[in-house]
Symmetry: C2
Subunit: 171 residues, 2 copies
DNA sequence: TGGATTACGAAAACTGTTTTCATTATTGAA
DNA sequence: TTCAATAATGAAAACAGTTTTCGTAATCCA
């Protein structure tokens, strides 16, 4: 299994590339480059993990408090349309957006205690799915696999939980 | 792979069993048996597939037009709490409920053309997931796997699509 | 630099779901 | 049975997350 490390610092090179790709998309579509969109995407691409609109808005407001959530929503839709970002839903009712990923496709493990979302990729799993689809006369475009459970490392899990509670307190 | 057949008629015996199980649950909880709840659950258990609140309400209203959606929502929650029904979300924003299933756990294949939702189960897939979780020091409580794509049998797929369109027209 | 066009922000609208509240039904005990 | 006590109902309001509207402001190309 490939477990995807999400604790390394964000690669500035890659961010710049993504920003350029988005700028190209905007141009191709005949849309306009705006200060707000730039703020939103550069904030987004420098954040890690599975980001909710709320979380993004908080960061964006630090750079420019006048930016409203309508613009954040609109920009996220554009990011999704551009193919640079994926929208995901993990059943808590809110959309989460994901931009940086070491590998293209991956699945998720979600800890129900501390909320940690780990990414992983396994070719055997992919192959097995393909063969099942084949058997069923079905052609897969995409799939979603989520494992819900708990971390076995209780100490680390508890620490994350505390940290999360503290952050919620502060907000 | 086990592909689960969802075209066989609903087994009356099984429905009666589920109704009895729900009645027992109601009693155990100290809740009351009502005409509305009986209508809703017996309608639900006689429907097949992955039923949305809307779809259920339509059927329920045929038996008793005075039943409102608040009661349908409330009853579905009770069904979920009783363990007789599972709630699922396939990303179109609405909850779907599933009561009858030949096997306990199963995964889904969803056709993006005709909307067909097929259920399947494969022990190798389950085992592989367990081993991946093990590797990652994670304990799985439950999981969700959904394959999105299209039916390879274009004729059957198209027929279902037509049928669906006709039904939407009629409603 | 002008003028067409697109984007913005605030607020209203929307969707699916949950809650409230006054009224009605069910229940177990007398 | 009848009587409270309690739970359930239905209509409407509230709710959360998201999308749309609308008047104003910014962008961009000629």
């Amino acid at each position: 299994m490939v477990t995807i490390n999400t604790n390394t610092p964000v690669d500035e090179e890659l961010v710049k590339e993504k920003e350029a790709a988005f700028a190209a998309f905007i141009q191709r579509r005949g849309l306009k480059t705006t200060r707000q969109r730039n703020t939103i995407i550069s904030t987004f691409f420098r954040m890690r993990g599975h980001i909710s609109v709320e979380e993004l808005l908080v960061q964006v407001k630090k750079a420019n408090p006048r930016i409203g959530y309508a613009t954040v929503y609109r920009t996220l839709h554009l990011l999704v349309e551009s193919g640079l970002v994926e929208e995901r839903r993990f059943g808590d009712g809110l959309a989460r957006y994901e931009g940086h990923s070491a590998v293209e496709h991956h699945d998720h493990m979600i800890c129900l205690e501390c909320g940690l979302i780990s990414e992983f990729y396994n070719p055997r799993l992919e192959a097995l799915q393909e063969s099942l689809a084949e058997e069923n006369n079905f052609e897969i475009y995409r799939h979603r696999l989520e494992l819900y459970g708990v971390c076995k490392d209780k100490a680390a899990c508890e620490a994350r939980k505390q940290q999360k509670a503290a952050r919620a307190q502060g907000a």
